[in-house]
């Protein structure tokens, strides 16, 4: 027994020395901390960037705009590049958290489709470079969900009692309330407290039917047919569909959320130039293609769009038509009193 422990300890010591030495062999010009959504990049791109530019990348992930924001304002970590969604970008701009980009360091910005520049969350496009876009869709497994129930392509499917126990819901209040508000015919950005109360009641009504409130766990649960119905992001549907062809989707007729996730540099960044180099690298055509293929979300990169397989760019859910897009709604930053209300309603839903 003692021998085994001694051996194990020796192994650990030798191994840790080896890693330290290996680390020393490589001296980088700079180090940047990149904070991105989970499953939101082709990971080989990072090591390629490190090699090509001799800049070390510490890559970490989050699964929610709100938790990313909290981490940043708590000042517990220094991030350089973050990739938040639209409404969070406008919140961060208004709180002076983002740095103005020097676009002369990001020449590949010219590849970004004009359609995705100067959007409402960053009207003069000074702070952000669009990375992906897409809409929320409703996923269903057509092995279990009958054709007539999806005929109307409505959000109501998520409230259909026939499928009690097999429905998943967003574990994030902004998306969940967005769906409930739309279901009632209100705006996702409503600032009317009565609308929020009605939406909360709607979610309360749905809770007994819900199997689980999830984010990234949705992949497992939909692929293994643990659940039949779920709302999620169009790009992720494609990833799920590739592994289980029974999972179909539609853009809800009541109107979906349109989102744009953009790369930004934090004001507190100590390596702004290296961070901009990273953003520029992400906008190189072949890199953008690889990322788009890996994550399945729609790309705003014109070069990548052309290079991608027609079966992807022709997909009506990942790249919806102009008419469909006209019915969508982009989240805006809500005032703090509504956010507090949202938080209270959400916790009440969970503790009930």
């Amino acid at each position: 027994m003692k021998k085994i422990i001694t051996f194990a300890l020796c192994f650990v010591i030798v191994f840790s020395f080896a890693t330290v030495l290996a680390g020393c062999g490589n001296s980088y010009d700079a180090t940047i901390n990149v904070y991105n959504w989970g499953e939101y990049i082709d990971l080989s791109v990072i090591s390629e960037f490190e090699k090509e530019h001799n800049i070390k990348v510490n890559y970490t992930t989050y699964d929610q705009n709100e938790s990313m924001y909290t981490k940043i304002i708590s000042g517990s970590a220094d991030y350089d590049v973050v990739i938040p969604s639209d409404y969070m970008i406008s919140k961060m701009i208004s709180e002076d958290l983002l740095a103005e980009l020097d676009f002369s360091n990001i020449p590949n910005y010219s590849y970004i489709d004009e359609q995705y520049k100067n959007l409402a969350f960053d009207p003069e496009n000074k702070y952000s470079v669009p990375y992906t876009w897409g809409t929320t869709v409703i996923l269903y497994n057509d092995k279990y969900v009958s054709a007539e129930d999806v005929a109307e392509q409505s959000i109501d499917l998520l409230w259909n009692e026939k499928y009690a126990g097999y429905i998943l819901m967003f574990d994030n209040p902004r998306d969940s309330f967005g769906l409930a508000l739309k279901k009632l015919g209100y705006s996702m950005n409503s600032t009317d407290k009565n609308h929020w109360a009605a939406a909360a009641a709607e979610l309360q009504k749905q809770k007994p039917l819900v199997s689980a409130y999830v984010m990234d766990l949705i992949f497992d649960k939909m692929i293994s047919e643990e659940a039949y119905i779920a709302p999620y992001y169009a790009g992720d549907w494609l990833t799920i569909y590739e592994q289980n062809e029974n999972v179909k989707c539609y853009i809800p007729s009541e109107g979906a959320n349109l989102f744009v996730d953009s790369m930004c540099v934090l004001k507190s960044s100590k390596n702004k130039q290296a961070a901009e180099k990273f953003i520029n690298f992400m906008c190189e055509t072949d890199i953008a293609v690889r990322n788009a293929e890996a994550i399945g979300y729609a790309t705003p990169h014109t070069g990548a769009f052309e290079a991608l397989d027609a079966s992807v760019t022709g997909n009506e859910f990942v790249y919806p038509s102009k008419e469909k897009l006209a019915e969508t709604e982009v989240f805006v930053n809500l005032p703090q009193d509504i956010l507090t209300l949202q938080s209270n309603h959400w916790i009440d839903l969970k503790i009930d």
Binding site: S67, T70, G165, V210, Y213, S224, Q342, W346, I347, I351
Partner: protein
């Protein structure tokens, strides 16, 4: 006689300093911050308003305590006989038995809990297996619904924290002086009597530290309830996490701290009660680990 001044750099001081610094930095200051945040508002002025949230979440508090208590009792019922059996094994086999109990802990806690998800799901291992047998016997089988229930949360707690109950009980049992048992036997005690009068009282310190080490993490967990409860049952740990991470849109360290403070008080009080039971029995080395 002249008073001798103790030198500052005495061996005792030198060995104690790192622990003292550690305790101040990572125990006292954080507790101080929790207390400070609990009694102030966002602007730092004194308020008692945060405490009103305790009333609001009283039910969740009770649910957390209830689930943690159930898990602790189950752990105790499972762990005591287990520890007893191991302690009675030949010495050379005890090491490997303990190693087997520790083995799952070499894997990350999260991954182990994820694994339970796959076991308990409607299409999970248990349901598929039973379904196969039912098909073979040609019996109608609708499947057990286990995942996303409070039962699944309790199971996750018991599974994850069971070793923390077994180990301290095992430690005290092996430390019991065998001559006491032999003496009792010589004086004509039955096995039941030996257990009741000697082994049970002497193992109390191990049981108490086991209970503490299971109850405390169980009452404050948030990840087990999320993964195995389907995010539908918020325990108090989830609410605190929510206020600190701002995941539902509004960060509120003050309310989070007030709830944490109550949780800490709850834990300290329950530990005090447990230690009270421990008072009479003489501590056998390696018992209390808190």
């Amino acid at each position: 006689m002249m008073k001798t001044k103790k030198p500052f750099f005495s061996a005792k001081n030198l060995t104690v300093t790192p622990y003292a610094v550690w305790m101040v930095l990572f125990v006292l200051i954080p507790i101080g911050l929790v207390v400070y945040f609990a009694f102030t508002d966002a602007n730092g002025t004194f308020t008692l308003e945060n405490l009103s949230y305790i009333k609001r979440y009283a039910e969740t508090f009770w649910l957390s305590v209830e689930l943690a208590l159930i898990s602790t009792v189950i752990c105790l019922l499972l762990a005591y006989p287990m520890a007893f059996i191991i302690a009675k094994m030949p010495t050379e086999r005890q090491g490997s038995a303990i190693l087997l109990i520790m083995l799952p802990m070499w894997m990350n806690f999260l991954i182990r809990t994820y694994a339970w998800m796959t076991i308990l799901e409607n299409n999970g291992i248990i349901n598929r297996f039973v379904g196969m047998i039912a098909q073979w016997l040609q019996i109608e089988f609708e499947g057990f619904s286990m995942i996303n229930t409070n039962g699944a949360i309790v199971l996750g707690m018991v599974y994850n924290y069971l070793p923390y109950m077994i180990l301290p009980i095992y430690t005290v049992l092996t430390k019991i002086d065998n001559s006491l048992i032999e003496a009792a036997r010589d004086l004509g005690s039955s096995s039941v009597h030996v257990f009741r009068r000697i082994i049970a009282p002497l193992s109390v310190p191990g049981v108490i530290s086991g209970i503490t080490m299971v109850f405390v993490p169980a009452v404050s967990t948030f990840i087990i309830s999320y993964l195995l409860g389907g995010g539908k049952t918020y325990l108090i740990g989830n609410i605190i996490e929510n206020y600190f991470l701002g995941s539902s849109g509004a960060i509120n360290y003050n309310v989070g701290a007030a709830l944490s403070l109550l949780l800490m008080i709850l834990i300290v009080v329950s530990m005090g009660i447990m230690n009270h039971f421990d008072k009479d029995s003489e501590s056998v080395g390696g018992g209390m680990i808190v």
